[in-house]
């Protein structure tokens, strides 16, 4: 892992990987959404509303995977002081928050016809909302510390502290079971027909590729920002030095 500590080596594989991930993600997610919205038959009980699943499930997965990315980056930052970890955490936070919000919105749109309500204070919904606030807090804290030049380990501590919340999300289904259905997609057995499973898996993989591409792009942008800043600072120092020499020569 420390092979990538050098930003140049990281960029040498991130640069060519980004367009591939982007293209693969667009093709998979676009194809799966097209197939799911037009070709898959309507479900017997839920009717056409079931099609929102193909957006909702990847969004929920990426909302949680994004936070696990932040947790891993925070751990790498605190334990190994990995130089790219803080950048990876900051880069994953905004797309993760976006997918969490998307999951909440699509779930709410689906809930209106299916449950007859936009919002229900049930375990899974509530913990997803809490996860969104966790993301917003992390984004605000990491931006504030970056702006003030404070250590990037401060948001990393918050990231690890917030990881306690992710198991709460997972187990909340069993804790406060109310009207949210139990997960129908678990290892081993599945209550879902193959006609739904294939586009669902494809769209999940496609959105995951898109997520990875966005994270890599944001990491490169953040790296470029710090490099540009360092270059400006160096130039300012050199200009200062030149001016000093001129003054000395004049004196």
């Amino acid at each position: 892992m420390h092979g990538f500590a050098n930003p140049k080596r990281f960029l040498s594989f991130a640069r060519p990987l980004t367009p591939w991930l982007l293209a693969l993600g667009l093709a998979l997610a676009g194809g799966a959404l097209f197939w799911g919205l037009t070709r898959v038959p309507a479900e017997r009980l839920q009717g056409e509303t079931v099609r929102i699943l193909f957006l909702h499930v990847p969004a929920a997965w990426l909302g949680m995977a994004g936070w696990m990315t932040i947790a891993g980056a925070s751990l790498a930052e605190i334990v190994w002081r990995h130089p790219l970890a803080a950048i990876a955490g900051r880069a994953a936070a905004v797309p993760g928050a976006f997918f969490t919000a998307l999951c909440l919105v699509t779930g709410s749109l689906w809930g209106r016809p299916a449950w007859g309500t936009w919002w229900e204070w049930d375990g899974r919904l509530t913990s997803m909302l809490v996860l969104l606030f966790l993301y917003l807090g992390y984004i605000a804290l990491s931006q504030a510390t970056a702006r003030e030049g404070a250590s990037s380990r401060i948001p990393a501590i918050f990231g690890l502290f917030g990881v306690i919340n992710v198991p709460v999300i997972h187990f909340s289904v069993t804790w406060w079971y109310s009207i949210h259905q139990p997960p129908s997609f678990s290892l081993g057995k599945s209550a879902m027909a193959t006609a739904f499973q294939v586009p669902l898996l494809a769209s999940t993989m496609g959105f995951t590729c898109l997520f990875a591409a966005v994270v890599l792009m944001r990491m490169r942008a953040l790296l470029a920002e710090t490099q540009a800043e360092a270059r400006l600072r160096r130039r300012a120092r050199e200009a200062d030095g030149d001016a000093g020499q001129l003054r000395e020569a004049g004196a």
Binding site: F133, A140, I154
Partner: protein, 194 residues
Amino acid sequence: MPVLFFVAVAVLFPFAVGPDAPLLARTGGGVLWIAALLAAILPIDRLVAPDIDNGVFDQLTLRGVSEELVLVVRLLAHWLSFGPLLLIAALPAAALFDLPAETLRTLLLGLALGTPGLAAIGLVIAALTATVRGGAALGGLLLIPLAVPVLIFGAGALARPDSAGLALCGAISLALCAVAPFAGAGAVRAARES
């Protein structure tokens, strides 16, 4: 000071919802929980930041006192500054809301178990935002996700006194108190580097 804030919320709440006794009795316990939560994070800008600025942490580190130990004492002091007084202030507040005796008992037990956890959350947020300007405003945002479990179990026990809410509230509170000094000490050391 946090206690006055707590009492102010308890006095102002009936003006906001009207003097409807059954409604106040039903919602009063939850409002007191929210007031306790806000009272716990009221002094966060004075908990850690002044000690970092004055070099108190540096002095103690030079003498071989670890940041973790300082923050354990800090946590205890922070809890003492509002916890016991809050429990006393909950009695007149409960009278204002006409809370039944059973609810009052659960509320007092829950606050006694939960306020150390709230103090721990306040301490962690104070340490994390110590180096950031306008940290208090940021603290409100950081508070929402961290305080949810304590609030769910503490206030949830009011609605269902027979459930395990109080035990879970105590468990979360203990876990927060155990983690907070280490998280806070990490933040204090990180603040030294910048």
